[in-house]
């Protein structure tokens, strides 16, 4: 399969606007959950096959699976190790100089990731209410890995939003994966006709 099939950037003003709005809402919520004020900046949107999303996010990321009712499919939010360690450094008196060692994520890492990802998922529900009236957010799972889970097939087409998550000059990555199947009418609203 060609690279183009899996990395089409999306020019979607509404989706970008919702992602930006969610980032603003989530930053405030994270402050109350974590006692920190991280920077959360929307970077880009792309249309990717699920397996390409997994390849770009990496397997060693904390993954929150959640639903935005009434959408039928599970959405995924991921936070990488660097983002988690930035939070731990900020909370536990670290130097905020991210290391390079890759290690399996632990229960502490997952707990920290939940403090970042759950407010973000709730903020997405709030922002998406503009195109999805009565959107309700509900956790499905929190995992220390991004697996090829049964929720999504490898070739399934997804809208992917990428965020930079920063604390004290250390930047991690957060990613949102939104399966296109089941979006129905709101996909047209999110993307318009401009898929480049």
């Amino acid at each position: 399969m060609s690279r183009k099939q899996h990395s089409e950037y999306v020019s979607a003003p509404v989706l970008e606007s919702l992602c930006n709005e969610a980032a603003d809402l989530a930053s405030g919520a994270m402050e109350s959950v974590l006692g920190l004020n991280p920077s959360l900046a929307f970077e880009s949107c792309a249309s990717l096959a699920f397996e390409a999303f997994v390849a770009s996010a990496g397997l060693n990321v904390a993954t929150l699976g959640f639903r935005l009712q009434p959408l039928p499919r599970v959405l995924l939010l991921t936070l990488d190790q660097r983002g988690i360690e930035a939070v731990l450094d900020a909370q536990l008196g670290g130097e905020l100089a991210a290391g390079e060692d890759i290690r399996p994520l632990t229960a502490v890492d997952l707990h920290i990731a939940r403090g970042v990802l759950a407010p973000m998922a709730a903020a997405l529900a709030e922002a998406f209410a503009r195109v999805l009236p009565d959107a309700r957010y509900e956790d499905v799972f929190l995992s220390p890995r991004l697996d090829l889970r049964p929720y999504l097939a490898a070739q399934e087409s997804c809208l992917v939003a990428r965020y930079a998550f920063g604390l004290g000059g250390v930047w991690g990555r957060m990613r949102l994966c939104l399966p296109r199947e089941g979006l129905g009418a709101i996909e047209t609203q999110l993307l318009g006709a401009r898929l480049t």
Binding site: G35, L36, I84, E85, L88, L92, G93, H111
Partner: protein, 224 residues
Amino acid sequence: MSLHDEQIVENAAAEDLALVLAGEYAQVAAAVLSGLEAEKASRVLTLLPYAARADILRRIVAMRPVSRQGLREVLHVLAERLRDRRGAREPRGGAAVAAAIARELDAANRQELLAEIEEAAPPLHEELLAALLAFDELALLEDEHFAALFRAVAPETWPLALLGAPEALRARVVPLLDAARRGALQGLEAELESGAAVGGAALRLADVAQAREEVMNQARRLLL
């Protein structure tokens, strides 16, 4: 809630705490250890993977103010894991379990049982001895026991036994060596590093193993 979590972490056995901290980000271990009594923190640090210890200690030196809320959250998760470890203790066998039980016996009873096992099942006796006291653990001995062990081992044995030994053990033995033995150790290390003749290196590994066995024989005689 959080006070209880803090107590669970503080009161946990050093071995359990080390197991729980072993996979964590180094700043987590640094924050937890910095809140323990120095003696316990030192024991936990010694039980953590060798490669992580310097980074953890360095982070304790450089530690900035810690958020109480953040630390409470981390301690809560660690306390949960420690509770899980306690709850998961089901009946099981093995040398480690037998060794833990044998350690609690008084010396006379322990020696009597060990002698019986040696007679009945020498391989199991060996396994049990290894679990009761390993060479790498000698650095953890109390000063009095350590001094007795140092005196009991022939001086010329120590340089060979220390080749490739854990840094913590070297740090305790080397200051006690006389100048000649220290020189011998440095010579052996330089020889090893420079890649001595293959035949010589093979012979040396056997010598190192034998020297360590001599140390362990004395340690078991004195301590078990």
